[in-house]
Symmetry: C2
Subunit: 459 residues, 2 copies
């Protein structure tokens, strides 16, 4: 940790440069001292509201001069403690970098500032018939989504944030600005530093600008819902859908507990069984009907029951609202509890086994859990909950979680599919990539020699 007086000098220099925009009030610091994770609040020494790339450059130049830790901040929606300033220092709020700078529809791309949220980008794109497909659920910023390689329900069709970023503009500690990647859809020009900053959780530098891929809004879309006797049956159906090359736009598993929570939270009446929510699209009504015909058959053969279809935009939006609010629905059921959501991702063939294994462990330990899964990707989330002060239950939760990670890694999977490492999964990352960690650290040192960029995260 930097010497306290050194911090005071840094704050003085930052105040000289930024005046009123550097905030040190308790309220603002508290707001920037947490994310959506279970972790408590850790206050930064100050919060800077950047309004331009030049602000970021100047802030990082001063930070390097005074060895002041910097945590980039935008929407505050991360889940693994990424935003907590565990070594103090500056919370660098880039939510003011909120301009869609340039939309180039004929090239299917847009250049945006890092603080733009994906729903806002999509609102601005809509009339042009294009969209940015990654939808992590929360009102996430694109800079934050890049920093955790976020994904969501549409990754099965359009890939993750990584797959939808062409170029990045980043500021390094010390203030140097780099343009990484290209606006071309493909490049083989040297090392993929763009890819290195994606998923780096702000530990290599601050993303200020992104060029993202856009996709044509599909012309004809329908949602299918099918209920199953158990999760294994639902997962098997999902595998058949994938194998038939139907290219679902979305393919989501949601268990009975989550359905019940959503029904209560949103006043819905979905059947409270393990369910697949599937979206299909096609360029013509006829080809959509053909695709739906195959999907219906596969569902019926796999034991799917009570098949429901949603064709209007309002009906479809209602289903995805329910899916995106599943986490909030669960938290609303247990007021006063703290929550932990796992993010394991495994090769598809192991998904049913992992979900069953997790469920079994939780039951043995008397824990109440619920499951949602991006089953086309092998990524599933188990949500645990208990009162924050119930140490015994939290110990049991962590013991179960640890066994789940062990099993997922043995199956060739990863401890995090889309939420990142942050503070909470550093131990899991060491188990997953132990021999590679010294090389990750060497890469960090090449970009951030003083170690001031979001220190204490990932490693």
């Amino acid at each position: 940790m930097p010497h306290p007086n050194f911090t005071a000098d840094a704050l003085h220099a930052l105040t000289e440069r930024f005046g009123e925009r550097l905030k040190m009030t308790e309220a603002v610091r508290e707001q920037h001292g947490r994310d959506e994770s279970r972790e408590g609040t850790v206050l930064p020494d100050a919060v800077l509201f950047a309004e331009s790339e030049q602000d970021v450059v100047d802030a990082l130049r001063l930070a390097q001069e005074y060895a002041l830790p910097v945590v980039p901040w935008a929407a505050g929606s991360s889940l693994e403690g990424q935003l907590l300033p565990v070594q103090g220092g500056l919370s660098l709020d880039v939510s003011g970098l909120n301009q869609v700078l340039d939309v180039r529809p004929a090239s299917f791309q847009a250049t945006v500032q890092a603080g733009v949220t994906y729903p806002e980008l999509n609102r601005q794109l809509r009339r042009g018939g294009l969209f940015f497909p990654v939808d992590p659920g929360a009102e996430a910023s694109l800079g934050g989504m890049a920093s955790t390689n976020a994904s969501g329900t549409a990754a099965v069709r359009y890939g993750t944030t990584r797959d939808n970023i062409l170029g990045l503009r980043v500021v390094l500690s010390g203030g140097e600005v780099l343009d990484l990647g290209s606006q071309a859809r493909k490049t083989a020009a040297g090392y993929d530093l763009r890819g290195l900053f994606i998923g780096a959780e702000g530990t290599l530098g601050v993303i200020t600008q992104l060029t993202v891929r856009l996709h044509p809004l599909p012309a004809h879309v329908a949602v299918l819902r099918a209920a199953f006797a158990d999760i294994a049956q639902a997962a098997a159906c999902a595998a058949h859908i994938m194998g038939a090359a139907l290219q679902p736009e979305r393919l989501e598993l949601i268990d009975a507990g989550e359905i019940a929570a959503v029904n209560a939270y949103l006043g819905r009446d979905y059947p409270e069984s393990p369910t697949l929510w599937m979206e299909f699209a096609a360029p013509t009504p006829g080809s959509l009907e053909e695709t739906l015909g195959v999907a219906r058959e596969l569902c019926a053969e796999s034991g799917g029951q009570g098949l429901q279809e949603a064709h209007s935009e309002a009906e479809r939006a209602a289903v995805w609202e329910a899916r995106h609010k599943a986490y909030y629905a669960i938290t609303a059921q247990h007021p006063g509890h703290a929550f932990l959501t796992t993010d394991l991702c495994v090769p598809l063939e192991y998904l049913p086994e992992l979900v069953a294994f997790s469920h079994g462990l939780a039951q043995e330990s008397g824990l109440d859990t619920s499951v949602v899964g991006h089953v086309g990707d092998g990524n599933f989330h188990v949500t645990f909950h208990a009162p924050a002060e119930d140490a015994a239950t939290w110990q049991a939760i962590h013991a179960v979680y640890d066994k789940m990670v062990t099993r997922a890694l043995a199956a060739g999977g990863t401890c995090t599919g889309e939420h990142g490492v942050g503070l909470h999964k550093r131990g899991h990352l060491a188990r997953e990539h132990g021999p590679a960690l010294p090389y990750m650290r060497a890469v960090k040192a090449a970009f951030d020699p003083l170690g001031i960029m979001n220190p204490g995260k990932i490693f």
Copy 2:
């Protein structure tokens, strides 16, 4: 360059370890002293035919001990001088690492050794109804394709090699083995070192094993061919196809000169005009017919003429054989000439302009050129040719090429879409990514502190 006696010591130590498998005959060294690029031959001091990962480990341990340069080699099909041992040393031939280790159809993935070629992998996958979609044309090895982030005609639908590699196993100089990435389809676990090795052209280490994504073979497929009055019209039609979300499997532009060359080389009778070759697929015959209906309309509206369709597998294979042999067809027309193929990639909206600009410059300089383009990706190849000893013409070619690069970079594009940097594009890379180069070098130093891995390439 290492001291010659040091090289002699290294060769002695390698011979002690590998015996007969270390070859120093002129013929073998010559075979490993070139690739498919225009560059002459540069002989390595020796060639090692590795048969296992342990061979690679031992070779790199000795190489580090004696500071001996190492150039990884497999199929020899790269185009930018990547394989030339410009600082001497060892050509490390991994073509003997040719086993498909594990196919996991239910997870849509396979684990293969680096020397397996993509056609061989696809031959082994075929009966299971799956395929690996990246098709750079030559009989490339998967390790080599990863090292240049190769792509080809199917990238418009399935992405590049980068998008289809889940995990890599690599050996570093010194012999350390790292597993990078994951077998999961998504991961957000730390820095993407997997992505760093993709496109690194063997300068960071040697890839020995890859876990690749597989895709279901589409059930119903058709090829459309349409001729256009000029290239701009053909490119505009391609843009309409992309915008209609028809998701072509392939979308290729081929100019009149290339068609003429292919007709002569393969005895075909394709109309000798700028042409689009398009492939579409669908899960049912009905939905394929719907897609084709839209595509036919878009072609007609864009001035496409003489629409031809190929539905049988043999007819479709004939079209793609012609496309994959276009380069060889051109070289066959000009015996004794040397060839240079550019690899610019630009945002889609700039493609027609760049192609016209390139064509105009070539005409002004009296140069004979031909063009093929992956027009769904904005990537196009102009082939120049002249007798190797015709210095004046080569000077003119390089002057045109240089202006093309300038224009492509100004349009936000890249100097290489899929062939990589190698020896030939180091100057172009410096123009494209100058400020980032010191960071690329620092990354290299983190993995290869002595700088013995494929020295002289990329930078």
